[in-house]
Structure formats: structure tokens, C-alpha cells
Assembly symmetry: C2
Homo-oligomer: 361 residues x 2
């Protein structure tokens, strides 16, 4: 086996090494079944235990009440963009969105395709999505209020969630789910593609409050109704078994090795301090997000020139630091430091940044 690198990709992203080692060790024989987890029937006791554990761990980690259902739905966050207005839009009532970047924009577009009365009640487009909007008013007439909790491309994150005023919040938490504790009570629906903070690609985690299930129109296709998944514990049809299995191992690592979301948040705060404090004192690296809106998950920054940025990414990879190129739509550099990137990874990155600045600055 070769050397493992520090992986700063934005998603699919780094997974905890003990999780990968456990998968590897039981890949040919899952818990004495004599078959691989890649072969195990979703109707077996083995897989029932896996999915039930993943659901229970999600509820415990997020402190969810009994009124929430935890679902696993294929198709990523992108399929959720269309399922949400389809299922949760109320007749004659608008659907409200806050636009903080590419992913919010895509979610808005899918509601518009369906002919919904879409209102964008706040946006940070005026400054290139470099900040999180504030001071907007929530309209109680809305079916729901949708926002994106963390924006991977521009590196911004909601430090505090919007006040809901009784309107169900709907949130795309793909890139910061399980990175910190929060109060789920105001949320009608939370969704997250697994491939950033909780697993490999191939499943979205969807958390839906029971009353939201009653909104679904009867004539929707079976696979596009949340109730189909809620009624059958996400097994109306065959789910992505190996993906859910891996998610469960990541959640186990969060509970048993890290010690829960308060602890995870402390570690993420520490990682953020290490890299942002360094950037702030440097004249060489420039952060691109407004300071009070900066993301603890995706650290976006520029170097003095595009040539230096290319060299930075190239040289970093040689030193075992991968995935530091910014999103192709904005350029620059980006270090994604999700849960599975530990303090040591961030320290190694800052050391490299210092050395690169010394040589090139």
C-alpha cells in the first residue's frame, strides 16, 4: 500500500481512517454472514441492524424528537431540490428561499421549473455571495423557508440559523451536517448529500418532521413521495446498502471516538482558528469570504497570482496535501476541512502554507 495523503477535497471527501480500516477488514465476510456487505440482502437481519443503527445514531447525535423521521434517499441533494417543492409546497402559498450561492440557486431553479410561486426573500448575490444575508423579514404566509447552511464554493456558513417565525425551515446541510449541534425543532426538513461530512456519495440523509408528510399530493410518483420512504424505513425498494453501511460507521465514529457534536464542534472551531488566524496575519494569502460569514468547513483563499495558485496546488500535492484547488467556477484555492480532517491535517496545511509563502512571497 502507498502512503495516505491529507485529502482537502470538497466532496466526495476524506473519511475517518478507522472507518475505512473496518470496511476493509470485514469486506469479504460481514459479521460472520459469509458474504460481503456489498452482497448482503436489504431484507436480511444484518442490513436491518445497519439501517436501524444509522437512524438511531442520527437521532441521538442531533437530539431529534420522536416527531422526526430519518430517511436515506438516493439521488443526492440535487434530487431533493425537486422533491421539496413537489412535496412541501402548499396550494396557493408561496415557497420562500434565501440565495447564498450556487446550491441555493439550483434549489430555486427546481422550484421554478415546477411553476411554484417562488420568492427569494434574501440574497448575497450583490457581493458575489461572499457573505450570509442578515436583516431580512420572514413572511408567515410561506409554505416553507429554504436556505443552505454552508456554501462550499464561496466558503460561507450561517453562524446562527434564521429565525423561523413559525414557518418550517428547510435546509440543505450537505456540507456541514453533524459538524455542530443545533436545535432541530424549527425545521420541517433537513437534507444532506452524504459525501462531505457523513459518508461516501450515493445517498442523501433526509430528516423530515411528521407533519410535513401530510402535505404530499396524492398523485406524485411513488419514488418521489417522502411518505414512501418514511413508511418503509427507506426500504420501499433496495437502498444503497454499502453507502448506508459506511454512513453508519462514520456516525459510530462521531459518537464513540469523537464523543458527539459538542466535541466535534470544539475540534472544528479549533481547526478554523488555526487556519484563519494564519491567513489573517498573512499578507500573502487573502481569504475571500466576509469574516463574520466564514465557513468552518470550506476555507477559500487567493494567492497573489493565478500562476502562484497553480504552483501552490501542485507543490502541496507533492507534499501529500491533496484537493486544494478552488471550485472550477471561481478559481483560487480551497481547503475543505470537514469532520474527518483532523487538527493534524490543518496544522500540516498551515506549515506548508508558511513554507510556500517563505519561498514565494
Amino acid at each position: 500500500m502507498g502512503k495516505r495523503i491529507y485529502n482537502f477535497n470538497a466532496g466526495p471527501a476524506a473519511l475517518p481512517l478507522p472507518v475505512l480500516e473496518e470496511i476493509q477488514s470485514e469486506l469479504l465476510d460481514y459479521k460472520g454472514s459469509g458474504i460481503s456487505i456489498l452482497e448482503v440482502s436489504h431484507r436480511s437481519k444484518w442490513f436491518d441492524d445497519v439501517i436501524n443503527e444509522a437512524v438511531e445514531r442520527t437521532k441521538r447525535l442531533l437530539g431529534l424528537g420522536d416527531d422526526f423521521h430519518v430517511l436515506f434517499i438516493q439521488g443526492g441533494a440535487s434530487l431533493q431540490f425537486c422533491m421539496i417543492p413537489m412535496n412541501l409546497g402548499l396550494k396557493g402559498r408561496p415557497v420562500d428561499y434565501i440565495n447564498t450561492g450556487t446550491w441555493s440557486t439550483k434549489a430555486i431553479k427546481e422550484a421554478e421549473i415546477q411553476g411554484k410561486d417562488v420568492r427569494v426573500i434574501a440574497s448575497s448575490e450583490d457581493k458575489g455571495f461572499s457573505y450570509i444575508p442578515d436583516g431580512f423579514t420572514v413572511d408567515k404566509d410561506a409554505s416553507y423557508l429554504h436556505f443552505t447552511s454552508n456554501n462550499t464554493i464561496k466558503g460561507t456558513q450561517w453562524a446562527r440559523f434564521p429565525e423561523a417565525e413559525g414557518v418550517p425551515l428547510v435546509c440543505d446541510m450537505s456540507s456541514d451536517i453533524m459538524s455542530r449541534p443545533f436545535d432541530a425543532a424549527p425545521f420541517g426538513l433537513i437534507y444532506a448529500g452524504a459525501q462531505k461530512n457523513i459518508g461516501p456519495s450515493g445517498s442523501a440523509l433526509v430528516i423530515i418532521r411528521g407533519d410535513m408528510l401530510e402535505r404530499t399530493p396524492h398523485n406524485l410518483p411513488t419514488m418521489l413521495k417522502y411518505a414512501t420512504f418514511a413508511d418503509k424505513n427507506s426500504m420501499f425498494n433496495t437502498p444503497a446498502c454499502v453507502v448506508i453501511y459506511t454512513i453508519n460507521l462514520v456516525l459510530k465514529w462521531l459518537e464513540e471516538t469523537i464523543g458527539g457534536l459538542e466535541k466535534m464542534d470544539e475540534i472544528n472551531q479549533k481547526k478554523g482558528s488555526i487556519i484563519y488566524d494564519f491567513i489573517d496575519q498573512s499578507g500573502f494569502y487573502q481569504g475571500t469570504a466576509a469574516r463574520e460569514s466564514r465557513s468552518l468547513m470550506n476555507v477559500t483563499f487567493r494567492l497573489p497570482s493565478e500562476d502562484l495558485e497553480k504552483k501552490f496546488v501542485r507543490e502541496a500535492l507533492k507534499e501529500g496535501l491533496g484537493g486544494l484547488k478552488g471550485h472550477r467556477s471561481v478559481g483560487g484555492c480551497r481547503a475543505s476541512i470537514y469532520n474527518a480532517s483532523g487538527v493534524e491535517a490543518v496544522k500540516a496545511l498551515v506549515e506548508f502554507m508558511k513554507e510556500f509563502e517563505r519561498k514565494e512571497g
Copy 2:
């Protein structure tokens, strides 16, 4: 590690052991990338190679012309049940179906939910779906003609596909894709959940002819349009990377170890002969499908009593033969012998059946 068993589950099902061993060996470091295939970015060169290889292997194995697109779409065959009428139903033209069991029935239901003019032009429901219909007339007015090539629950399979008369055939090949060669020219669309013959659960393989892409109405949600996947090589959003990676390894095994679909068909014919010849001469085991409609993938049979069936399944598992219980909707016994179940697995099963008959018959 414990002992591997012979896995006769209907899906998720057995995978070739060399495929599992390759996955295991490179799980922590994919081809010198320093990261796992579970962590690799779908925008990387590594994953580009994986998906391009999987597409090319599919085209070679099935002898597909350049007018076909090979797509990977999450949500299984069940999501295809709704995407097909949505995308391929022509305005003012009916959508035609042949009903050969549970899965056809579900496909029909999803077209009906959408208010399509659904015609069931043939059915084997009169005899409990125990045979494949014959002697029906295809109507050239149809948008398409949908059928299910192999029926896992009742153990029936189309020996020869229906004559299309120019109407695009649409086929659910979830349970016998890549088990034998066939002429793809009359097909507008072929789809298959991966978890039976070509991989783990978590992706459908969809093969669509170019002219079908033009049928899609403009106002469909982005993730429900086939063109979204065809235009972006199945990477409009993050695909199920580890599932596609495993599919590619299974296709590689089919090409390089088995030697292609003619060879695979020979092996499957041989496996079928071994078990059906044994059942036919036995007075103890009774096949449930009409002889000329029997499936080479799912062998369904009964024993003299339900108690004996339970005992059979239980004792078989003790001997390392798993997954022999019939589908919960019909009872009895079922041995699913997809591509990855070799001749030696079928021989071991028949030996056990003989011994069980000797003791209990």
C-alpha cells in the same frame, strides 16, 4: 475471516470473489492516489477513468452502436418506473405494457399515476404469472412497449424478446442484464438495478437510444430528465462513485475472466441444465414456472410441505448455502443463480438437494 458461503439471494446478490478481493486490496489507497475510492472526487482523473471504462465495457459487452448512451442513475429500477412514462410517453399516444408479474405491475402503476393512456397488451396474470405470454399483437401507435425480461419472484424469463414492429422496446433487465447476448437495435431504453447481475445496490444502469432523448418534455425537473445524465456523462451531480467503481470491476471480470456474454450464456445454460434436469426427474421438488418460460437466473420450486421448505432453507444454510427462501409474497424456495454464482455453486446446491430428499423424501 470466516468461511464464505454460496449466496443464492435474489438481490443484492453474490459478487465474483476476485472483484471483492480487488476492492479490499485497494480500499485504503486507490491506485496510488493516497485516498480510498470511497473518498475520491467524481471530478478527478481517477473517477473519470472508472466511469468511462464502465461505459465502454457496457458498450463492448452488449455490442451497442454509437446511437446508445450508457447512464448511471440512482434510485434503482423503481425510479425508472416513473421516469420512463415521464420522458418517453408521446403526446396523444398510449404507452403499452406486458404484465409478467410484480415488477411489471409496479411499472404499470407508475405510468397510471401520471395519467398516461396505459394499455396492457398481454399478461400472464390468469395463471399466477407462471409463464411468459405469447401470440399478442403489438400496436404501432404505442409510444413504446415495456416488458420485464426476467421475473425474479415467479422464476420466469423471456427466451426470445417480443417482435417490436418498429415500436421502441423498453425493458426492465434488472435480473438478467449481461447474462446473455442480444440484439439491442429494437430497444429505445434498457434499464437494470445493479444489485443482481452487475454490482451492489445503489445505481441503475440505463441504456438509452439517442432519438429517445428528444422526447423529453422541457418542464421536467432536471434530475428526472435522461438528457441531464446523457449530457454530463452521468455526472450532473455526484454519482454513487463506489457503486459505479464496483460495477466496472464486475464488467471487467465479465470481459477478461469469463470472456464475454456468449461465454457467460454458455455457463448460465449449463447451470440451468444441472438444476432443472435434477428437479425434473425428482418427485420431491416441484418447479413452479412453466417449462418453456423458466428462468436461468431464478429457479423457483416447492417441496411437499411448508414445514419441509422451512427445514430445507435452515439446513441448507448450515451447509453454507444461503438465501434459498422464496420471495415473501409467494413462499416456497428459490435459488438465484446470477452470473456470479458459478457451476460449482449450483452443483453444491444439487448435491445438498439430493441428500435432503434422501433423508426427508
